[in-house]
């Protein structure tokens, strides 16, 4: 990874500090560029005031059981506590799981298939009734099982639990009848039975689907109108999509039972359907506090602020968890030959890809598959001398000779043509390859169908000789399995919607994936993920591009601000405002 990138970031921080000192009068808190990526900015325990969120679309859903967007997973914790959640801490500490509704961390049986979770006693909903284990079981049922299961969220429980014939709670009669894979021996205990051991199960328990929903309160997708609160805030009025959301304090919530929420503001408001440029402008003007989507500034304001030395003090520049890379297909000629794939690795200068994302502020040059926040990542591992950003044309030529194409070869690159940054990246790759004598032709496809029917279809890839395909990947949770299994396990290759686009089917790698799910020691797991990463790079099946970074505006009045790598955005549960009146 880029020591160059780090050096530059450090230098920028110094200049930003210097520039800020004169200016930080009123709201200024003396924070520096990118400080919120690694530490808590503006720590405070001043309660009160209104925290103002806005989002450019409508919220995906307010229902914690019906969502796949990280910002809802983060935000819904205001009113929906989950069994486990991520520690409220910056940096690597933020990826640690802690009990939320749970009384302590779950226990697993010796064979790895039975997980027991105790929940805290005396927890209450906003109406004062008690939160019981069966409500959590019901919440998991409604979001995972049956034809009418809520559509938006992932279906991990359905894939993992040892349950064959349960067809969901909406069939009429007793909603949980026949759902035996989760037992509730008493009101405060849940026992999960899995098909087979799954080491990452704790991450699944941190998903918002484990927020309790009493069966008699459920209204299917309409439940989002008023989610019964288990957290420090509740809906003020019924929610109508598009009209925004207002949260007020829930007096039944007990701070003593909660490890992560500071609950400082009195009110929390969400405006929906505000245009991105307006959101950014109002953030800068102090009329808004947080862009709910958490993806950072739009291009307009970003372009203005990153070139302004003083404004930089209000910017954070964390990694988004997304890795943009090039799949190097192992079946399409001549890339079925390892040396030809390696030639591509040496021939592509990563600097061109980095430029497409906005230079060092837009992304770190990647030299391996796993993003740096995930255990097992070894940023110093750089088998193809990619960190410098420059191509190694000599080495590429050697490899081309080795694979029987000393004068170059033809290859196609697939790309989503309606994504300018990706097109820019691919155009740079094309020029880089041309210098080594590799003639690349770009094939553009609409992003709507790209992941499913073009890049995601091995038949299409073979028919159209898509040797190279540009792609981006983000994990549902910060572990090597969560990140790599879909894109690198040979058993994950599918006919449509395929994510293992390089069609890497290496027995050694497949075996490691099979083994790692029953390994419990995190250290040992991390070693296996590092080993998989190394094997993939030796196979040259993925050409790492950049680990993307976002530029987030941090208003001066926002307190306890820090970037949590688990959510890839600020941790919303600790935020407060200095304007407490």
């Amino acid at each position: 990874m880029g020591f160059a990138a780090f050096g530059a970031a450090a230098a920028l921080m110094l200049t930003a500090c210097g520039g800020d000192s004169g200016e930080s009068g009123d709201g200024g808190n003396g924070a520096a560029f990118d400080q919120g990526s690694t530490e808590v900015v503006n720590p405070s325990d001043a309660a009160g005031g209104t925290l103002r969120y806005a989002i450019s679309a409508n919220m995906e859903s307010t229902d914690p059981g019906n969502t796949y967007y990280g910002y809802v997973w983060n935000f819904s914790r205001y009113y929906a506590r989950t069994l486990l959640t991520y520690a409220a801490a910056p940096g690597q500490a933020g990826t640690e799981l802690v009990p939320d509704l749970a009384a302590e961390m779950p226990e697993v049986s010796d064979d790895g298939t039975e997980w027991t979770v105790k929940i805290q006693e005396g927890l209450k909903y906003e109406d004062g009734s008690e939160i019981v284990a069966e409500d959590i079981k019901y919440a998991i049922a409604r979001s995972n099982f049956g034809d009418q299961a809520l559509p938006n969220g992932p279906k991990y429980f359905q894939q993992l639990l040892d349950e064959d014939d349960y067809d969901g709670p909406y069939g009429g009669g007793d909603p949980l009848e026949g759902f035996d894979a989760i037992e509730t021996p008493d009101d405060h205990t849940l026992v999960f039975h899995l098909k087979e051991p799954f080491a990452d199960f704790l991450y699944v328990l941190a998903q918002p689907q484990t927020a309790p929903v009493p069966a008699d309160a459920d209204k299917g997708e309409q439940y989002q109108t008023r989610v019964g609160s288990s957290g420090p805030y509740k809906f003020e009025d019924d929610y109508t999509p598009g009209d925004g959301l207002v949260l007020v304090r829930n007096e039944e919530w007990d701070a003593e039972t909660d490890p992560i929420r500071t609950a400082l503001p009195d009110r929390i408001t969400v405006e929906e359907g505000v245009e991105q440029n307006e959101i950014d402008q109002r953030l800068v003007n102090g009329e808004l506090d947080v862009d709910l989507a958490g993806t950072g500034l739009g291009p307009a304001m970003k372009g203005q602020l990153v070139g302004d030395e003083e404004a930089r003090a209000n910017l954070d520049n964390p990694t988004t968890g997304a890795h943009f890379y090039l799949n190097v297909n192992t079946k399409v000629e001549p890339l079925d030959n390892l040396a030809c794939r390696q030639a591509i690795q040496y021939a592509v200068g990563r600097e061109g890809i980095q430029r497409a994302y906005g230079g060092e502020l837009g992304g770190e040059i990647a030299t391996q598959v796993l993003p740096p926040d995930i255990p097992g990542a070894d940023p110093s591992y750089d088998p193809y001398e990619a960190a410098s950003g420059k191509p190694s044309v000599e080495k590429a030529k050697e490899k081309m000779e080795e694979c029987g194409h000393p004068d170059g070869f033809d290859v196609n690159i697939g790309v989503r043509s309606d994504r300018p940054a990706e097109v820019d990246a691919v155009e740079a790759i094309q020029q880089s390859l041309a210098e080594a004598g590799i003639n690349a032709e770009i094939k553009g496809y609409p992003s709507d169908t790209y992941t499913n029917t073009q890049a995601g279809s091995p038949d299409f890839v073979a028919d159209n000789k898509l040797g190279l395909t540009y792609y981006g990947w983000m994990a549902d949770w910060p572990s090597g399995y969560g990140y790599m299994s879909s894109i690198l396990d040979g058993d994950a290759i599918k006919d449509a919607g395929n994510s293992n686009i390089s069609e890497l089917d290496d027995p050694e790698i497949n075996k490691l994936f099979d083994e790692v799910i029953s390994v419990e020691d995190p250290e040992e797991q991390a070693q296996i993920y590092a080993e998989i990463d190394r094997l993939v790079m030796e196979n040259a099946a993925i050409l790492p591009g950049v680990f993307q970074k976002s530029v987030i505006y941090r208003p001066d009045n926002l307190t306890n601000v820090f970037f949590n790598p688990s959510w890839h955005m600020y941790d919303y549960m600790t935020l407060g405002t200095t304007e407490t009146e």
Binding site: G307, E360, K443, P446, N464
Partner: protein, 341 residues
């Protein structure tokens, strides 16, 4: 007043039609002349026409123009770009010098540079004209051919043929074309019908635009044919024993040339916009081949740092469409028998 431009031999021997024919022939020969005379006196239409002619020359001689005044359209000039803001620097040697609001316009780069990779915008606009015009002309040709053929048949034959063709036109006009285009672009592989890559993409664009726009021409041609088929010269030909083919192509079609020409000229700008829209949506030709619509689409992500990148391709589309429309309007007025001389 419309009349055949090319009177059939057989009609000239008949009395008293022969006399009438002869007079009309005299009038019709001068109609084109009248039209041309009117057009020449219309400076707006003429301006549009001259611009269109120039644009065609620009497209044809794009390699020469970029050789003299620009750079290869795909050549990067990254040394002039600030990697962080992705815009063109005022001073390439000073990363804090700020963004050049003109986007780097200079004698070296007449219309400035694209953001990110710094390609020469002048060259890309000039090359972009090729795709825009090629697709617009070919697709217009396609819909004129289909529209005229089916329109004449529907209008002349009437009956169930007319019903079938007219309903087909209704269906085509109601078709959600943009959605269909996106879906089709997703299904069509990169090698088909003996074409590959950009040639195939262009063929697909031409097909989609042309094949679904023909009813616009078709309706007009059908309407004109309905009136023409009742006219004396058609009946005369029919009474002389002329076959359907002869009447359609020798009697009626020549009278349709003027309206077809006018509407084709007015369809071209629509099709230019359509091509731009499809490129905008990512179903156009492949990068890095420049197209105006594609450039406009990409530019929206960078407008704060490179406003010229939005304005220039937008202006190119706007001026071209305007020129075609002005020319087409002038042409219509010139051919309109009701307009005064």
């Amino acid at each position: 007043m419309t009349a055949p431009l090319d009177a059939p031999e057989s009609a000239q021997h008949a009395e008293p039609e022969a006399i009438a024919r002869g007079r009309r022939d005299a009038a019709s020969r001068s109609l084109t002349q009248i039209a041309w005379r009117r057009l020449r006196r219309d400076p707006v239409a003429l301006g549009g026409g001259v611009f269109v002619a120039l644009l065609i020359l620009v497209a044809v001689f794009a390699p020469l123009l970029t050789h003299w005044f620009g750079h290869p359209p795909n050549q990067f000039h990254q040394d002039l770009i600030d990697p962080a803001t992705q815009g063109v620097l005022k001073d390439p040697d000073d990363p804090w010098s700020g963004i050049d609001p003109t986007g780097g316009m200079s004698a070296e780069h007449l219309l400035g540079l694209e953001p990110v990779n710094g390609r020469d915008l002048f060259s890309r606009i000039v090359y972009g004209a090729r795709i825009s015009l090629l697709v617009a002309f070919l697709s217009t040709l396609l819909c004129v051919v289909i529209g005229t053929l089916l329109g004449v048949l529907a209008g002349y034959l009437g009956g169930w043929v007319d019903t079938v063709i007219s309903r087909t036109m209704d269906i085509f006009l109601a078709f959600p074309l943009l959605l269909f285009a996106i879906a089709l672009a997703g299904v069509i592989p990169d090698d088909a019908f003996g074409l590959s890559s950009n040639a195939l993409r262009i063929a697909v664009l031409v097909f989609i635009i042309g094949f679904f726009s023909w009813p616009y021409i078709g309706r007009i041609v059908r309407g004109q044919t309905l009136t023409l088929r009742e006219r004396e010269f058609v009946e005369a030909a029919r009474s002389m024993g002329a076959g359907t083919g002869h009447i359609l192509f020798r009697e009626i079609l020549p009278n349709l040339v003027a309206p077809i020409l006018v509407y084709a000229t007015l369809l071209i700008p629509t099709n230019i916009l359509f091509e731009a829209a499809l490129s905008f949506l990512g179903v156009g030709v492949n990068p890095p081949t420049p197209t105006w619509g594609g450039m406009l689409s990409e530019s929206l992500d960078y407008y704060p740092v490179a406003p010229h990148f939005v304005i220039i391709p937008g202006l190119a589309i706007f001026v071209t469409v305007l020129a075609f429309n002005l020319f087409g309007d002038g042409l219509r007025d010139a051919f309109d028998p009701r307009s005064s001389d």
